[in-house]
């Protein structure tokens, strides 16, 4: 590649200088301070009897370390929600992706005698024991999203609805196609990691929902929840069907790659529905320039609600719009469909991927 006969001294000097220069350029390039994400503001039930400050409660909070936008939003939402209440003291432990470290963290929360612990476990199965330990110590546990093995391990579970996501996506696709009067539509699906139960539930919901309209899923491929896999799978999938009428992509993060592939192929004859509800996807929907017309939510604002529930539990209140004086034991969130019409309402709840 290079001739090897040039004087070594000069060349090494040049190389050295180039190296120093390169290092300077590179270190200048690691800055990554994005404009800080405004934490999601929920339409908290401020104004009813329950929102009046009561006795001060300590809420312990433990979640995995943020390895993607959704988890980051969970932690942000929890701390933002706690700040809204003058009677809530949030004890958030160091987020970790290590099971043993999370167990240890929850144990310190037990020792500190938190009133309620809100926990998004790294793994529901493996954190069940320590959650039961907390319950036995008289600390009520709110289980966020990834469910524990035993109902004895939590007072209340709150989480998203994967099957419901599929249903919502199917409903949007079905309604739109009926409205347009498309018969025999080609409906494509880009799923997430196929071996995960959540992916299977999403796909099942999608299939069942489409069946109500007499439609079925055509080309279906699984990506890996990553942008690159979304691009790779979609680029090929688009070639398998010269005409597509609708597409559902399970995850807005891999959706960035899906949209890139669609743009690169110059395709625009179909509409697409996203999943999870990233701020980026919502901005695309709002701009209404590409194929992305809707996204079905798996909202990280569940963390905000979990903090509200924890406060109610600790203060001995129920949910004031319901008859029962206690907080329910099981709350599955609805997977709402965000479209151009209602995107402004949901945009503040979207998470940065």
């Amino acid at each position: 590649m290079k001739p090897t006969t040039i004087g070594i001294g000069r060349r090494e000097m040049l190389l050295g200088a180039a190296g120093v220069g390169a290092a300077t350029v590179l270190t200048a390039c690691t800055g990554n301070s994005k404009k800080s994400t405004p934490p999601a503001t929920t339409a908290a039930a401020v104004g009813n009897a329950n929102s009046a400050p009561g006795k001060t409660v300590t809420i312990g909070f433990s979640a995995p370390a943020a390895d993607h936008g959704w988890i980051a939003a969970i932690a942000n939402n929890a701390s933002a929600e706690a700040k809204k209440f003058s009677d809530v003291k949030l004890e958030a432990v160091q987020p970790t992706n290590d099971i043993a470290a999370q167990i240890a963290a929850v144990e310190t929360l037990i020792n500190k005698k938190a009133d309620v612990i809100v926990m998004l476990p790294n793994d529901g199965k493996q954190l069940t024991t320590v959650a039961r330990k907390a319950m036995n110590a008289g600390i009520q546990v709110i289980n966020l999203d990834r469910i524990f093995d035993s109902p004895l391990a939590y007072r209340t579970w709150i989480g998203g609805d994967n099957y419901g996501m599929g249903v919502s996506a199917g409903d949007y696709v079905g309604t739109e196609l009926k409205r347009k009067g498309v018969s025999n539509p080609v409906i494509a699906e880009v799923a997430g990691i196929d071996s995960l139960p959540l992916t299977q539930q999403r796909s099942q919901g999608f299939r069942d929902s489409l069946a109500k309209y007499g439609f079925r899923v055509g080309p279906r491929q699984a990506a890996q929840f990553t942008v690159a896999s979304g691009q790779q799978v979609t680029a090929n999938l688009l070639q398998s069907a010269p005409r597509i009428d609708a597409m559902w992509n399970h995850d807005d993060d891999q959706g960035v790659g899906v949209l890139a592939a669609i743009r690169q192929a110059g395709r625009s004859e179909f509409f697409m529905v996203g999943g999870a509800g990233s701020a980026n996807a919502m901005r695309e929907i709002k701009a209404d320039k590409g194929v992305l017309k809707a996204t079905v939510l798996y909202p990280p604002t569940m963390a905000s609600s979990a903090i509200q529930l924890a406060r109610l539990l600790a203060q001995g209140h129920g949910m004031s719009d319901l008859t029962q004086p206690e907080v329910p034991a099981f709350i599955t969130l609805y997977s709402a469909t965000v479209t151009k019409e209602n995107v402004d309402q949901y945009l503040p709840l979207g998470f940065e991927s």
Partner: protein, 342 residues
């Protein structure tokens, strides 16, 4: 070559010198190309079979846009494989390519880097790739680390650094000049495919028509002979990893354009895909022999398989099984080809 009956040390010396000379001489090169042609013929055969399967099972396979999609999907891993071919021919291995590519994509798409514009982004990706390659090269050539270990360590470190810089978030590219690389289509063919073609052709020329290429063969074929023949073995070995890093940097720009993002999740297991493509392309894992054309064909075989599976709406798990089977068959065929050719 070694039919002398003189005492072992002298015989060894003579053999080594003859070997080194032969490696650098033209006749050996033509013999090599002849052997590798036989090998590549096998891969062309595999591609032809895949083409026939495609024609039967998927009516869109033989369309212009599908073939161009295959080429575009092959381009990123293809560029990496060209660099990998050099490293493996030189007797090494580079396991860090996938995650160094992720690191370069992340580093070149931070808010700070993007604020300097597309030229700096490209330079940044190339520098990160070559920098990581230089570290690999120095550790292996001067630090006497086994390539497998040194580049495995680099894989881990690069992944960690990429995750740290990006905070494990996907970094959207706002510079249209970068995003447009994948959508710009001179003569109807994606710019990424053109880049792949240029890298492959330049790689072929460097490997087969320059002293640098001949030295690479010599070092991979017989390190000691190469050293005795006066080649700066250490310096050359280090440079091979820088070359691989350069290819990885180019690939990082390509994947960034293709996905319109930089991410620490890019390039997962690309090292295995690249090594597999190089190996089924007829390059010896022990070094000393190999071709760029074979590696390119190897990449095309794998990409075509992926494409065929998706066109037929088959799931990806089965793809990996097919890939595994093809690697084994290709290597077995090669061994037969080599035996009949020599």
């Amino acid at each position: 070559m070694s039919d002398q009956v003189t005492p072992p040390p002298v015989a060894e010396q003579a053999r080594v010198e003859a070997d080194a000379a032969a490696t650098a001489a033209a006749p050996r090169i033509t013999l090599l190309t002849r052997v590798s042609e036989v090998r590549n013929l096998g891969l062309v055969g595999v591609l032809a079979i895949l083409g026939i399967i495609g024609a039967i099972t998927a009516d869109t396979f033989w369309t212009r846009s599908n073939l161009l999609t295959i080429l575009q999907q092959a381009s990123v891993i293809g560029v990496i494989s060209v660099g990998m071919t050099f490293v493996i021919i030189g007797g090494g291995i580079d396991l860090s390519v996938g995650k160094v590519m992720a690191l370069a994509s992340v580093w070149s798409t931070t808010v700070a880097t993007q604020s300097y514009g597309p030229v700096v982004m490209v330079l940044c990706a190339l520098l990160v790739g070559m920098g990581a390659g230089l570290v690999n090269g120095l550790l292996i050539a001067y630090g006497q680390l086994v390539p497998f270990i040194a580049t495995l360590a680099m894989l881990a470190a690069a992944r960690g650094l990429a995750e740290r810089i990006s905070k494990k978030q996907t970094q959207l590219v706002t510079q249209d000049a970068i995003n447009n690389l994948a959508t710009t289509k001179p003569l109807g063919i994606s710019l990424l495919v053109w880049i792949f073609a240029v890298v492959a052709v330049v790689g072929w020329i460097v490997l087969n028509r320059t002293t640098y290429g001949r030295r690479t063969f010599a070092i991979g074929g017989n390190l000691e002979a190469a050293r005795l023949a006066g080649i700066h073995v250490r310096r050359h070995t280090a440079s091979l990893y820088v070359l691989s890093g350069l290819c990885v940097g180019i690939a990082a720009i390509m994947i960034t354009s293709l996905t319109t993002t930089g991410s620490s999740t890019h390039g997962d297991l690309y090292e295995l895909d690249a090594i597999a493509a190089v190996i089924i392309g007829g390059t010896l894992l022990t070094g000393g022999r190999g071709t760029i054309a074979g590696s390119v064909l190897g990449v095309l075989v794998f990409t075509t398989i992926s494409n065929l599976f998706i066109l037929n709406n088959l799931q990806t798990e089965t793809q990996n099984i097919a890939k595994g089977v093809i690697i084994v068959i290709a290597v077995l065929l090669q061994r037969r080809g080599r035996q009949t050719a020599t």
